[in-house]
């Protein structure tokens, strides 16, 4: 029964309708979480004894960085699914994720810069983590550019998919770079395997923002995937009926 509902989900028309219904609900939850996270992070959480109030950038910077990596993995996995099993939904989700991932990567880099200037005295440094995160941005751009350059969108999805998968090697480099090399960027504080070395009053808003960003991604990728699906399915009857009704 589970497999049957999975199959149903992969049907473009069913996906379009279901996603359309889910988006407002998830969107509302996302906004609520963002507001809670912002209030907690900006008002309730105390100032850091070393960094004062500038550390509050962490509530945007870290979730953005996490999203940049997470979305790339989703993109790579969906590309693989699309390449292996030729499931249109997987291809659509993969390419719809790319601009979102690029946006979060840009935010991670920019907020990191804005944090780095007052704290460590420099807008930019070519250490392992920053360099590989910048590479990630270029990889996203490459995927988007390749997809847009190919006319036939089925071929385009597959080509962009291969590129996304090839670029996956960058992800562990980004994640482990602060452990492998002595870098200016600080070491892992949350994703270590023992207890996180960040204070709980700061950890909670961080996690709230992380969840909020994930929900934002879900909402946005559903929205973009619906539009992309319409485009890919434009010659089918269900799309033509849908358009007439609007």
């Amino acid at each position: 029964m589970f497999v049957r509902s999975l199959n149903k989900l992969a049907s473009p028309r069913y996906f379009y309708i279901l996603a359309g219904r889910l988006v407002p609900w998830i969107g509302v939850v996302c906004v609520v979480l963002v507001l809670i996270g912002l209030y907690w992070g900006l008002v309730i959480a105390p100032a850091d004894y070393q960094q004062g109030d500038s550390y509050r950038i962490i509530f945007i910077h870290v979730p953005s960085a996490w999203m940049s990596l997470f979305i790339y993995m989703v993109m790579a996995v969906c590309s693989a699914i699309g390449l292996i099993w030729h499931i249109k939904l997987a291809e659509v989700v993969a390419i719809s994720s790319a601009p979102i991932g690029a946006s979060f990567t840009f935010l991670a880099l920019a907020t990191g810069s804005l944090w780095g200037k007052p704290m460590w005295g420099t807008w930019w440094v070519w250490d392992a983590r920053l360099t590989s995160e910048l590479l990630l941005l270029f990889l996203y751009f490459g995927v988007i550019a390749l997809y847009n350059a190919i006319e036939d969108k089925r071929v385009a999805s597959r080509a962009a998919g291969i590129l996304a998968i090839v670029g996956v090697v960058n992800i562990p480099i980004i994640h482990y770079s602060v452990q492998w090399w002595n870098t200016l960027h600080q070491g892992p504080t949350v994703t270590k395997f023992d207890t996180p070395s960040i204070d709980i009053s700061m950890l909670i808003p961080l996690l709230i923002m992380a969840v909020a960003f994930k929900l934002y991604y879900v909402v946005l990728v559903l929205m973009r995937s619906r539009r992309e699906m319409l485009l890919r399915e434009r010659n089918t009857k269900w799309v033509q009926d849908l358009v007439e009704v609007q």
Partner: protein, 56 residues
Amino acid sequence: MSLSEFFHMGGYAFYVWASYGLALVVLIANVLVSVWQHKKLIAYFQGKGRRARRTL
């Protein structure tokens, strides 16, 4: 903390508010652009449909 302290952010106001502001702009712009693209596509399909019916 008081409202003025809130805006001042311990002297780091520019950096903190630039970060949050940038995030707000980027994330909201993404949503608006996606909605606009969707609407544009549907309008385009409707235009095509109308032209096709007219030529019949």
